[in-house]
Structure formats: C-alpha cells, structure tokens
Amino acid sequence: MNHRSAPIEVRESVAFDTAYVHEALGRLRTYPSIQESVILSTCNRVEVVAAALNGVSASEEIKAFLAEQRARKNRPSLDDHVYIHHGPEAVRHLFRVAASLDSMVVGEPQILGQLKEYYNAAQAAGTVGTILHRLFHRSFSVAKRVRNETAIASRAVSVSSVAVELAKRIFDRLEDKTVMLIGAGKMGDLMARHLQRSGVHSLMVTNRTFERAVELAGRIHGSPILFEDFPRYLTLADLVIGCTGSPEILVDAATVDKVLRERKQKAMFLIDIGDRRNFDPAINEIDNVYLYNIDDLKGVAEENLQERSNEAEKAEGIVQEEVHNFTRWIDSLEQVPTITALRQRLEEIRQRELERSLGGSLRDLSEKQRAALEDMTTAMMNKILHAPMSHLKLSSNDEDEKTLYIAALKKLFDLER
C-alpha cells in the first residue's frame, strides 16, 4: 500500500519499524508459499516483495501476514487499501518505487536509500535468494539510470527549494554569503532554514518587534538587528528575504541602487514573500540585482513540475526496458528447470515401468530383446517430448505465451511437488 491507496492511519497500522523488520521477516518465512521476501516500510508506503512459485497463494499469505500485523494493533481488515502485483507488473512496480516515480514528491532521492536499507535488513534476516537479490540490484541500477538519464531528480518544486536553486545560479557558493531575513513569518523562517541547509552560515534577522527577532534569531542561529537599522546592514546582505505583513514598501529601488554602489556591484538576490509587497518591483530593473516574489517562485516551481512530467515519460521508458530484461531473465531461469524436470519425470516413469515389466511378465526376454525394449521406450519418450519442447522454444519471443506453457506443463505433469 502507498500514499495513494491508503490513508496515513492505515499505513501506520501496518508499518514495520526498522528494529522490528528482522523478526517480521522471520514470521513471513514461515508461510509455506513464500520463498524469498523483502519488507519496505516508509512513511509513505508499506510493501512486501516476495518471490514464490505460486503467486496466488503467496499473495493470500502476504495479506494474511499484513492482517496479522494489523491485528496486533487491533484494527479491522484492510483489503480495500492493498494493491497486489504479480510477475512483470510487480517488477515494474518495484522499479518505479526505486526510481522515485511512485513517490508523493516524484524524484525525491530518499526512497532509494530506504529501499537499500530494507533490502539489507532482509539480507541480514536471510530471506533474500537469487531472485530478489537480482531484482533489487536491478532496481538500484534502474534508479541510477533514471537519475542520470533524465532530469527528474533535478527539479525543485517547493518554493523554498526553488529559492535555493535560484540562489545557486546567481552565486557560485552559498557558504560565504550572508542572508538577511526581514520579518518573522513562517515562510521566511522555512526559507532561511533551507538556505542554511544549503550552506549559508551568516544570517541576520530583523523584525518590527525586536523581541521576536531575538527569539527567531535564537532558534535559527542568526544575529538579531534592530528594525530601524536594517537598511544600513543591507550592504552586507547577499540574499534578502522580505516576509512581513507591512502594507508599505520596505525597500525601494533608490535604496538598492545606493546599496549596490557600496557593495561595488556585487550581486544581490531579493526574495519577496510578504503578504503585501515588501520590495519595490522596480528593483528587478537594476543590474546585478534579482528580485523574485512569491508568484515568480511559484511560476518557476510550476515550470519545473511540468518539465518533471516530461522527464517522467522518459523515465517510464527506462523502467519498461528494464522490466523486459528482468522478465527475460526470470523466464530463462524457469524454462530450463521446467524442461529438465519434465524430462526427469518421464524418465522416472519409464524406468519404473520398465523395471516392473522386466521383473514380471517380460522376465524371459533375452539380453538383445531387453536392449531393444530399452531403445523403444526411450525413443517413445523423446517423441512425446519433442512437440512440447519445440513449442516452448518457439514461443520464446512471446512472453505471455511462454509463461502460460510453462505454468501448464508444471500443472499437468505435477512438476511442483
């Protein structure tokens, strides 16, 4: 289940803590159909990835397992919220999750790390075998391909991250830049923190009520300055965030022009996210100054979002390609053992019946006759096998058909005892 299929309360009710995953995997292993398994549990999704020969019974078992998990937390059934994928669809789903195409914020990079973490946990619990090993490693490289070959991960979509992205296009590095935050609003606070995470060290905070400036400065490690003084400090500021509810313009073009001359034309980035305009729009006309208001930032975010969906198409193409490769591998894995098992099965029957007859009614046969009988039965077996074998091989271009044949063979000859 993920953020689309189930509300947060439901997801929480089946979530697995990292500490608890080992034990849960152990429990999952006791279900008869499940051969390999990995559990992934993040704040946006709970997924059980399993390899099994019988997909239908395995998915029933996984549902039972999740229900059991839920029952531990005293909740009713969750059938409505669960999605189940089999075969290539399951592979595609995992690849999309790894490449962050299924995420709430498409392209966010955390999911891959979480996936690796839970994969390692499953490996430690000993529930990963050949198939899931290969599947997860493929999913990691799909994620890498999507990241390298599409621009899906490089598009900022929140207003704060757009501001940081813009700042990085104006300034070479943020480590030696100074930010001035005017006003103690929530948005400004957020943006200042975002800039700090991106490397900004030096931060000035000012507010009409000095106490609030001091309080905010304390929280985000900035230095408070008096509101009356802030124009004098503008010269030091490379980035200025205006975030007040003031009805009048706080900084006009003439002031910026003067500040810029004092700064020897060193570039400035002004971000206006106040309720009303805090900065004079004419400021953007001045060379070496870049003024963005909240609508501009949203506009850029919107463009990024648009571009992201174009890139998403490219990414889906990559996933499709890799799913195809993986399915081919799985089939080759299945085809060979099926053929061997079938041959073995018939050989067993042949041997058994031959022994019985030669020990019973045909006891008196000569050595030569026995050999002839041996040859005849072998030839019969090969003749019988010939048609199904060539069908299997001929159908290797059509994935669905081949899967069907393999399944049929297994069922008809009882190959899965």
Binding site: T150, R169, K264, Q265, E307
Partner: protein, 273 residues
C-alpha cells in the same frame, strides 16, 4: 601530410561540436566527458599538423591568413582545454568547438598551397610576436564566450525563466570571476604582443609606431580592455556591463583580424616592400 592532418582535425572539431551540443540539449551525462575527449583528440592531431608544418618549412605556420586562422583555432582550443581542466565548463565547449571547426574549415577556403615566406618575415620576431598577439586574442575569445554565457544566464534570471539548458550553465558569480581571470591573463599578453610588434617594426623599418591600421586597431582594443580592467579593479565594474564591454572589445579585435587587411592594406597583409 600536414594538410591531411588538418582535415582530420576539422572533422574531429566538428564531431566535438556535435557532441557538446547534444550534451546541452539532452541530459546525457556520459556525453559531458566524451566531448572534451573528442576535442582533445582533435587538438592532438592539430598539434601534429602544426608541428610537421614547422619541421618542413622551418617557420611556424602563421604568415599567411589561412595559416594564421588554423594557428588561432589551435590556441583557442588549448585555452579552452585548460579552462575545462579547472572549471569543467562543458557548455563553453559548445561555443569554442564550433568556432574552432569553422576557423579550421575557413583555413581551407583560402587555399592549401604552401607559399614562400617573404624575406622580411624570416626572423625570430615572427613567432614571438605572432604567438603573443594570438594568445592574447585567444584568451579574449574565451572571455567573449564566457561573457555570452553570462548574458544568457542573466537574461533568464531576470525574465524568471528556468530551463534545463540553463542548468548546464555555471552560476553568474562563477562566470563573472572566470571572465575577470581571462581579462587578467589576456591583457598582459596583448600588451606584450603589441610591444614585440612595435619593437620589431622599430628594428626593421626604423620607426616603432607608424600609425598603420593594424597598430591603430590594436591600440584601440588595448585601451578598451585596459579601461575594463581598471574599472573592474577600482570601480566595481562587474556583471552584465563587464560582460557586454568584454564582448564589444572582442568584436573590435576579431573584426580587424578578419576584415581589416582587405579594407586597409598594410604591411600586416603580407605586403612587405
């Protein structure tokens, strides 16, 4: 032999240009390392071509216009590859590689026969003066490219547009710094180019400064760059204005290099009497 190599060079420069352009418009990271490698291969072949020419004739291929073009393209690529080592500016390659290709191609348009060097040029002053002057020019050509990138990036930021292509550009601050570095290198080289030219003229013709068109145009360009450099150091000239002025300065230099001799015949056009 050197002509064949030069043809190979032109093809490689063309390939490198294509590769750089693919890199900008499609997000394909492996191309970003591939393009400089192709360009470097072209550069190596080019070096061989110039080296063979030198060994065969005993003088560097700079006397004729087509030779000068090819030598200039070589310096340009050398300069870019040096910058690429430090700044990883694949996008600048998208400007420089096509330029180098066009110049090598143009070199063919002016014939391929190896002319006899006029006796007045058979002196050590020739390689020294021409190399210095061309080096200065090449550095300014790079500065031109960097300025162009600055103006494009600046324009996008002012118009509040973001595209994937812009993402390939370095920050404005980085471009401005690089522009300054190039100016700081280009200006002394140009100064030395003019000085050696003037000394050569003084020794051979008796007067150091004869107000011939090439000297005048170089003088103007020199003053121009001098003013930009001075402005940058003392008056806080930077950003858009600096980029614009750098581009204008280069237009003067290259304009004369390409057209000057046909409009104002002078001793630089190979008419040595």
């Amino acid at each position: 032999m050197d002509v064949t190599l030069l043809k190979v060079t032109a093809v490689l420069y063309l390939l490198a240009s294509a590769s750089f352009i693919v890199y900008i418009f499609l997000v394909r990271d492996f191309v970003s390392s591939l393009s400089p490698i192709i360009l470097f291969t072209g550069f190596a072949v080019h070096t061989a071509a110039l080296g063979i020419h030198f060994l065969q004739t005993g003088y560097p291929g700079v006397a004729q216009f087509r030779e000068a073009l090819s030598f200039y393209a070589w310096l340009l690529v050398a300069g870019y590859l040096l910058i690429q080592l430090k700044y990883r500016l694949a996008i600048l390659g998208a400007i420089i590689a096509p330029l180098a290709f066009l110049m090598t191609l143009a070199a063919f348009a002016f014939g391929t026969g190896g002319g006899e060097l006029p006796p007045g040029l058979k002196t050590y002053w020739l390689p020294v003066h021409v190399t210095l002057a061309f080096l200065g020019n090449a550095v300014f050509a790079l500065a031109f490219g960097v300025s162009l990138m600055y103006l494009l990036q600046e324009n996008y930021l002012k118009r509040k547009k973001m595209t994937s292509v812009m993402k390939r550009f370095p920050s404005l601050e980085a471009l401005d710094k690089l522009n300054y570095v190039l100016l700081v290198w280009g200006f002394p080289l140009m100064t030395l180019g003019i000085l050696t030219g003037s000394m050569w003229a003084g020794i051979h013709w008796g007067n150091y400064w004869s107000w011939e068109p090439r000297q005048i145009s170089s003088g103007i360009a020199w003053l121009f760059y001098g003013v930009i450099l001075h402005g940058r150091i003392t008056a806080g000239l930077r950003g858009k204005k600096a980029a614009l002025l750098t581009m204008v300065g280069f237009a003067v230099v290259i304009g004369y290099f390409l057209l000057g001799d046909s409009i104002f015949p002078s001793r630089h056009g190979g008419r040595f009497e």
